[in-house]
Each structure stands twice: as C-alpha cells, then as structure tokens.
C-alpha cells in the first residue's frame, strides 16, 4: 500500500481566499484543515486557526466572558469576519505542510503525520500537487475499517 493508493483530491485555497469561504469548505467537506498555496510554498490552515479568527481575542484571553456572550452575538462575530483573508488566520509561526511523494508507504505517512502533528500530508509528483492523504483515510486503511 502506497500513498498513491490513498491520495484524494484536496481543496487548495490561496492566502487571499476569504476565511469565511475557507471555513465553509472545512465544514461542508468535513476536513481537518486546508492546504494553502502561499508565496513560500504550501502551508496548512488548521480548522482551529480559522476559528481563532472568528473569536475575539479578548474572549480567548478571558474564558469567563465566553459564557456571557449569547448565540445571537456569537453569530455576529462570525459575520464580522467579512472578507478577511486566510493570510490573517494563519498562525504567527509558519507551519509547513508535510509533503511526500506517491511512493511513500503507509508507515512513512504515519510517521510523517505523527512527527509533524499534521492530520494532512500533501502528495507531490514532479513538483505538482496531486492531492493529499488525510489522517482519517490513513487510519481507515491501517485499521481496515
């Protein structure tokens, strides 16, 4: 079993894609994160980072305040995202997307994911992104479910 057998098409966004659009992709396709094509190559936008932009910093600083905000106002936070781009949601410290080739074995993929703590590995052939292997796909294969 090689990476080419597990690879699947994976949505790619750019640094200028609105976060709201990225969040919709995450939700609709049940993805753990998105591949972002940036100026310095491929990076990953974890779902939690998209969420980070939707929650005001002062609420993250003070968990007691999170309880005070009702749902109507929580929706406002999401709408306030407006057209803010993905580049604003990326973590301050750049997180390179783990990349491997289609011939990587299942164990190689698992080791790469575990080492980089990424639920996603990009599969690149001859410099072209052909898709990604997700943690879910890998576990399905390993556990035979």
């Amino acid at each position: 079993m090689r990476a080419r057998d597990l690879v699947a098409d994976y949505p790619v966004v750019t640094l200028d894609t609105p976060v709201l659009e990225a969040a919709r992709l995450l939700a609709e396709q049940d993805l753990p994160g998105l591949i972002v094509r940036g100026d310095e190559g491929l990076t990953i936008l974890p779902g939690t980072e998209a969420l980070r932009l939707a929650v005001p910093r002062y609420i993250m600083d003070d968990p007691a305040l999170a309880r005070v905000v009702d749902e109507a106002h929580a929706d406002k936070f999401l709408r306030a995202l407006g057209g803010r781009p993905v580049r604003e949601a990326l973590p301050g410290e750049r997180r390179d997307l783990p990349v491997t080739d289609p011939d990587a074995t299942v164990v190689e993929l698992a080791a790469l994911m575990a080492r980089t703590r990424s639920p996603l590995v990009a599969i690149v052939e001859s410099g072209e992104l052909i898709g990604a292997v997700t943690l879910q796909a890998l576990l399905d294969r390993m556990l035979g479910t």
């Binding site: 910093r57 002062y58 609420i59 003070d62 968990p63 007691a64 305040l65 005070v68 009702d70």
Partner: protein
C-alpha cells in the same frame, strides 16, 4: 568611602541602568547585580539572607506571594467580569457613566489586589461592552490603567512600592488607611472630573446600542459559586486581619500566607494550580534588588548618602517633603518605581529617624504618593500601563506611547500637585 563601596556603587548604577533601559530582562539585571555584589564581597550570605536591614526583605516577598495566590484563585471565579458587566448594566449603556463605574471598580480592586491583575481582568470586559456600545475602548482602557495606579496607592497591599515602604518604615495597614486612603478618595473624585474633561464630553448615547449591553447576563460570568464565596470569605478575613493587626499581632506577610494556605487547603484549587498563578520572576526580581541595595547598606554607602541627605535637609522639613514627593514622581514616571523605592527606603528611614521619628513620618507618605502616582505619567511608568497597551494592541485597538502619555501627564500633574497641599496642611 572605601574602594569596595565605590565599586558597589558602580555595580548598582550599572544594574539600575540596565533595568531602566530594559536592555536586558529586569530579573537578569537585578540577579546579575546581586551576583557581582556577592562575588566582590560587597555583601555576604549572612547579610543578604538574614539581615533585617541589609538583606532580602522576606516580609515583602511573602506578602506578595500570599496575595498572588489569593488573587490567582479569586480570578478563576469570574467575579471581576461579573462586577464589570453589572456596572455596564447599571450605567444603562451610557458611555460616561460606564467609564465612571469601571474606573471606580478598577480603583477599588487595585486597592485590595495588585494593579496588573485588576487591569488584566477588567480590560477584556471593557472590549466586550465597548463593542456593543460601538464606542472606542481606548479611552476606557487608558482611564482604567490610570485609576488602578491611583487606587493602588490607598492601601499597604495596593501597590508593590507601598509594601516595601510599609516593611522598611514599620508602617501598618491601618497607617496607610489613615494617611493615604482619604486623599486617594479625593483624588479619585478629581480623576472622574478629569475623565469628563478628557473624554466624557465627546461620548454619545445610543439607546439601541445600550439595549445590547442590557442583554448581557452577568450571572453567566460566575464559573463556580462555591469557590466564589470561599475566596471572598478568605479575602474578607485577610483584610480584617490586616486591619486588626494591633489586636491579633499577625504581620501582613503572615496574614497573606495564612489566607493563601486556607484557600489551597480547603477549596478545589490544587497546589499546582495556585502556584501556577504566582509571578515567580517578580519575586526573584525583588530578591535581587534587596541584595543589591543591601550591599550598599553593608558597605556603608547608604549611611553616607543618608548622612549627606540629613545634613542637606536639616531644619527644612517642608522642602524635604516636597522634594521627595515631586522627585519620586518624576523618577517613577521614567523608570520602574519598585527599584526606586527599594533604593530610597533605607535613605528615607534615616531621614525619618533624624527628623524625630513619628513626626517625620510624612516623608514616607511623600515617597509613597510620589512613586505610586508618578507611574501614571508615561506609558512605561507602571506595570499596569504596559499591560493595558499590550492588551489593546492584541485586540486591534493599539494605543501609542504618546497617546497614553498625553493623558497620563495631565493626570499625574493634577494628582501629585494635589498631594502637596494635603501633606503640607496635615503634617507640616
């Protein structure tokens, strides 16, 4: 003075310059200074660790430690958020009323707890409420930092310089309540007036926006009612024990440690959780400072300086008091007031003794008011100011150094000037 005394002065000035310019971390500067003082025999273990006059002031360290643990538990309860939201609703969404209530709460909390914790807890609620009112949070945040420094001046535990002054001057919690707190109340009244002049006149009331504030439910902020009552009870007992010192004879440091011990032993908060809230770098910074200043005492530098100060100010209590008040305010505006007060305390102690003991106690109040209120003058004058600037920047409402300082200078000039007639009329 001996060569060793001159070298210790040079080491002290070099470390002080590093602390003031923030070229290196202040803890590293203070510990580095202490390290050199021990290395060159300007002080020794006996003097640094066990001397009441030239060693680490354990009363200060343990009072800070105890209060940090109590505050650490209290802040987990959500009581500050509850109070601030309650205030916003009491203000019925009127921005100036809201500002007044928030600065009063901040000043009151700062008098009992440390200033940085208070602004750290009030600032996030300020963002929430200002967002609903569609007003800029910047004036509110600046006003809160300023009021925390004014309120902190009121009590022995309100501001670290007061803790040092109390310990070095043998002053009690009640001394601060009698001599500092009454004027602080007046200064808060004046400060509210200044808030109106500086910002309040420009605020506009929007009934629709006010309704958004009224929709907030402050009760949701309370995370754990049992813990809330337990911590408030302990805080109440601690404050009562501070006040009852003449009867109970427990030192403030012992009271704070007993209170912290009760909270850790009898609430669900674990030892690890309570210790995680302690600002260890601050405590180590104090220890380093005390060793450095203690070296100056040990080598006779402080005695020389004190003697010169006593001779220069002999027969001029008015000039000495005013010089100390305004001088402390100016220095504290520019550099951290903690090392300044730590250095000045042994000198002021000599001046008070030479001036006749209790009758010259006004010098302690001049030092306390000058150092506490002077911190308001610039954005870097007090830890609370720096913290507020940091929170504002993180939340997308940056406050520049000058934006803060232009208001800080006005408030400092007015408040310190008002202290002068108070000290003059009451004590001189």
């Amino acid at each position: 003075m001996t060569l060793l005394a001159w070298v210790s002065v040079a080491v002290f000035l070099a470390a002080y310059a590093l602390i003031a310019t923030e070229k290196v971390h202040r803890v590293a500067a203070a510990l580095g200074g202490a390290w050199v003082m021990l290395l060159i025999h300007a002080t020794n273990a006996e003097s640094a660790f066990f001397s009441e006059h030239s060693g680490i002031d354990w009363n200060v360290i343990f009072l800070l430690l105890g209060m940090m643990i109590i505050v650490g538990v209290l802040k987990q309860t959500g009581v500050f958020e509850y109070l601030a939201i309650w205030a916003a609703k009491r203000a019925r969404g009127r921005p100036f009323r809201l500002m007044v209530l928030l600065v009063l709460i901040t000043a009151g909390a700062s008098a009992l707890l440390d200033n940085v914790t208070t602004v750290l807890l009030i600032a996030p609620v300020t963002f929430l409420v200002c967002e609903r009112l569609a007003v800029s949070p910047v004036p509110f945040l600046i006003a809160e930092a300023l009021s925390s420094n004014i309120g902190g001046a009121a009590t022995l535990v309100g501001d670290p310089p007061n803790i040092i002054i109390a310990s070095r001057g043998g002053l009690s919690f009640n001394d601060f309540l009698i001599h500092m707190a009454p004027l602080v109340l007046v200064l808060m009244g004046v400060f509210v007036g200044l808030c109106w002049l500086m910002w309040g006149r420009t605020f506009r009331y929007d009934p629709e926006r006010a309704a958004e504030v009224m929709a907030l439910n402050e009760k949701e902020a309370i995370a754990d009612r049992k813990l809330l009552w337990q911590s408030l009870a302990v805080l109440g007992l601690v404050l009562a024990a501070f006040v009852l010192h003449p009867v109970l004879h427990y030192e403030p440091s012992v009271v704070a440690l007993l209170g912290a011990g009760v909270l850790v032993a009898f609430t669900k908060v674990t030892t690890e959780q309570s210790l995680a809230e302690v600002e260890w770098p601050t405590l180590v910074f104090f220890a380093g400072l005390f060793v450095m200043v203690g070296a100056l005492v040990h080598t006779g530098v402080i005695e020389q300086v004190s003697r010169a100060a006593v001779e220069a100010t002999a027969g001029q209590p008015e000039l000495t008091t005013m010089g100390l008040l305004f001088g402390s305010a100016v220095v504290s505006a520019i550099v951290d007031n903690i090392p300044f007060v730590a250095t000045m305390s042994p000198i002021v102690a000599e001046l008070v003794q030479a001036g006749g003991g209790e009758s010259a106690q006004v010098l302690w109040w001049a030092l306390a008011f000058g150092a506490d209120l002077g911190g308001n003058a610039t954005a870097v004058g007090a830890a609370a100011n720096v913290v507020v600037l940091g929170i504002a920047a993180r939340n997308g409402a940056p406050i520049s150094f000058w934006q803060f300082t232009k208001y800080g200078l006005i408030v400092t000039a007015v408040t310190v000037t008002l202290v002068a007639p108070y000290l003059w009329l009451r004590y001189l």
